[in-house]
Amino acid sequence: MSRTGAPYLIGWGLWLGLLATVLWIWTPDPLPPALLGAAALGSVLLGVVALLQGWTERSRHLPDSSLPTVLVAFGAAMTLNGVAFGIWLVLIGGEVFILGLALLLREHLLARRRRS
């Protein structure tokens, strides 16, 4: 199980936790230790997830190119740009984003069918 490298993540998280604890004792402001503590907790959790997941041996179905992925990225970017340019861009971007997700799902299903 340790093949996943989980012990290193947990160990790193504990080291961050130690630093966060010292900081928490030393500083009156709650924000800095909270930030560092969150990162410590995150690392430990990541390690636990890696530990529980273990080593999966599964086959993957991967097309050589994935245009829907690019659509999702540009949909997200357009939506965010809408904050600066106006609601119209949010709507267009949102549509591109959803279209991309739909095509991504299709791509996934197609690849699975091809394999089975």
């Binding site: 490298g5 080291w15 010292v22 599964r58 970017a77 740009n81 991504l104």
Partner: protein
């Protein structure tokens, strides 16, 4: 063969589709590097304009408002769009190869990350086309200056959105590289047989995964502040933003450093014909280093009078210990070796020498009584350019000259490479060393101009000359790229007698990386294969 089997679609797409939407981690990585190179040239040209302005006191080459946009975009470009993405791209290309995997974990996510960064860059730069110009609150975007009153205009919004997108993209790239190390290693490739470069990517990506979400939050809050108001309005608002920003902003310095340190370590081992010396101490120190670097961020805030300076001074100064271990192990690798001074090795040595200057001045900056003086001055500018440009960029060039034969199958020219090195080495030190003195003498950073009465002009001229020498070095590099790709001097699969698995496959590697893997019994499996195992 690696544990997961990848099923390729029957038809291999060509043309535009394959260009924009490839799921091959190697091609995505090259795309990231290509985009970064374009942004690098843009950011570099901006730097030349700034250096030209500063060569002459009171110069009006560009106005103040324009100058503020330029230095903001220079810093933002180099950090968000160039060095961070390139550092991660090295991992995207090499980590699957070094761990003996057929593919990266989540290739679509990697592709997604790449396009987010590109979209972020375009968003940021599109600010130049708006009424008030591009973002102009520095790459740090401190509030209240970056709030709607401090910097009105769409350009500032576009800067924030661009940073947010690039941050999301970098986060995604880091996550896929980390997952690849954790879950896609070939049989026999235990964590303690990971090549040093892959370990530096582990440390890097751990930080990426922990810090970029905080930057995303900071940018989202900044956007909310500008459009809704009331987020950072309170007395504690500005310092809260600064904490969030530097909680990302300091570790990212190491994100932009570790991968190049790893590249230099590989180059040094190969060109010394030695197994890496002190592997385990290095790994332990890397993890301690990465963790420690997460807890030093408020040394950027000593002069605010609102942080516990002693804690952050302690942790910052203590980073000298893991950094010292890294130097010890790299020099230990060279000691007793058979050193060939090929271009990658020259750049690696340049990295070691110049990063040391950045590191030692960094220790000084970790001391509040010294920091109280030089913070916010050109001394800081000199310091971080010694780490980022003189350090990381030299590490990057070492990596480029070293892995170019693997990626393309052909060598870069050695003569032009050495010229490239000499020009960059001379240019870098001419540009950045005078800035230490300027800062000590009282020149504030981020100034569009300065009066001639200050006496700063002489050193500024030296610095400007240096900047143009750097530019000529970069031009030589671009020329080298073009000529080498045209002439195509074949390199074979393993021209340097490499130690790690990427050299066990063809150059360039096939779509799924390996046809067969050698046995993996140490962190230098190819060295074992060639010279027999240790002991």
């Amino acid at each position: 063969m690696s544990t997961q089997t990848a099923v390729a679609a029957a038809r291999a797409p060509r043309g535009l589709l394959a260009w924009v939407a490839t799921t091959d981690h190697k091609r995505i990585a090259l795309r990231i590097v290509g985009a970064a190179l374009i942004f690098f040239v843009a950011g570099g040209l901006i730097a030349l304009v700034m250096r030209s302005q500063l060569a002459d006191p009171g110069a009006q080459l560009v106005g103040r408002d324009t100058y503020n946009q330029l230095f903001t975009m220079h810093g933002s470009t180099m950090i968000y769009l160039v060095v961070t993405p390139v550092a991660l791209a090295l991992g995207v290309y090499l980590v699957p190869l070094q761990v003996g995997a057929a593919d990266i974990a989540g290739p679509r996510l990697t592709l997604f990350g790449h396009w987010l960064i590109v979209a972020g860059g375009l968003t940021m730069y599109s600010g130049f086309l708006t009424d008030h110009g591009a973002g102009k609150a520095g790459w740090t975007g401190y509030v209240p200056l970056s709030a709607s009153q401090g910097t009105p205009g769409t350009g500032m919004d576009l800067w924030i959105i661009g940073v947010l997108l690039a941050a999301l993209g970098s986060f995604v790239l880091g996550a896929t590289v980390l997952a690849t190390v954790l879950k896609f290693r070939a049989p026999g490739m235990t964590m303690l047989r990971l090549p040093v470069f892959s370990w530096t990517m582990v440390a890097t990506c751990l930080m990426v995964v922990m810090i970029f979400p905080v930057l995303v939050v900071a940018m989202a809050l900044l956007l909310a502040e500008r459009h809704l108001g009331g987020v950072f309005d309170s007395a504690g608002g500005p310092i809260t933003y600064i904490h969030l920003f530097w909680f990302y902003g300091h570790p990212v310095v190491y994100v932009m450093f570790f991968p190049f340190l790893g590249a230099v370590a590989e180059v040094v081992a190969v060109f010394s014909r030695k197994r890496f010396f002190g592997y385990r101490p290095l790994i332990v120190s890397l993890l301690i280093f990465a963790g420690g670097s997460m807890s030093v961020w408020a040394h950027h805030m000593f002069t605010t009078g609102q942080v516990t300076n002693q804690y952050f001074s302690l942790t910052s100064t203590a980073l000298a210990i893991p950094a010292g271990i890294e130097y010890f192990d790299i020099l230990g690798t060279m000691w007793g070796g058979k050193i060939s001074l090929r271009t990658p090795m020259l750049f690696a040595l340049g990295f070691l020498v110049q990063f040391l200057i950045g590191g030692l001045t960094g220790v000084m900056l970790g001391s509040p009584p010294l920091n109280y003086d030089v913070h916010g001055s050109y001394f800081i500018v000199a310091h971080f350019h010694y780490t980022l440009f003189a350090g990381s960029m030299f590490g990057l060039f070492a990596a480029i000259y070293y892995w170019f034969p693997k990626v393309t199958g052909v060598f870069l020219r050695e003569g032009l490479g050495k010229l490239n090195f000499v020009l960059l080495f001379v240019g870098t030190n001419l540009t950045f060393f005078p800035m230490f003195i300027l800062g000590y003498d009282g020149m504030v950073r981020r100034v569009a101009t300065y009066p001639s009465s200050t006496g700063f002009q002489g050193l500024n001229i030296v610095s400007t000359i240096g900047a143009f020498i750097i530019a000529s070095g970069i031009a030589v590099f671009l020329l080298n790229l073009v000529l080498s790709l045209r002439d195509r001097r074949p390199a074979g699969d393993d021209p340097w007698e490499g130690h790690t698995l990427e050299w066990a496959t063809s150059s360039p590697p096939p779509r799924f990386n390996f046809h067969a893997l050698p046995p993996i019994r140490s962190y230098a499996p190819l060295f074992d294969l060639r010279h027999g195992e240790q002991r």
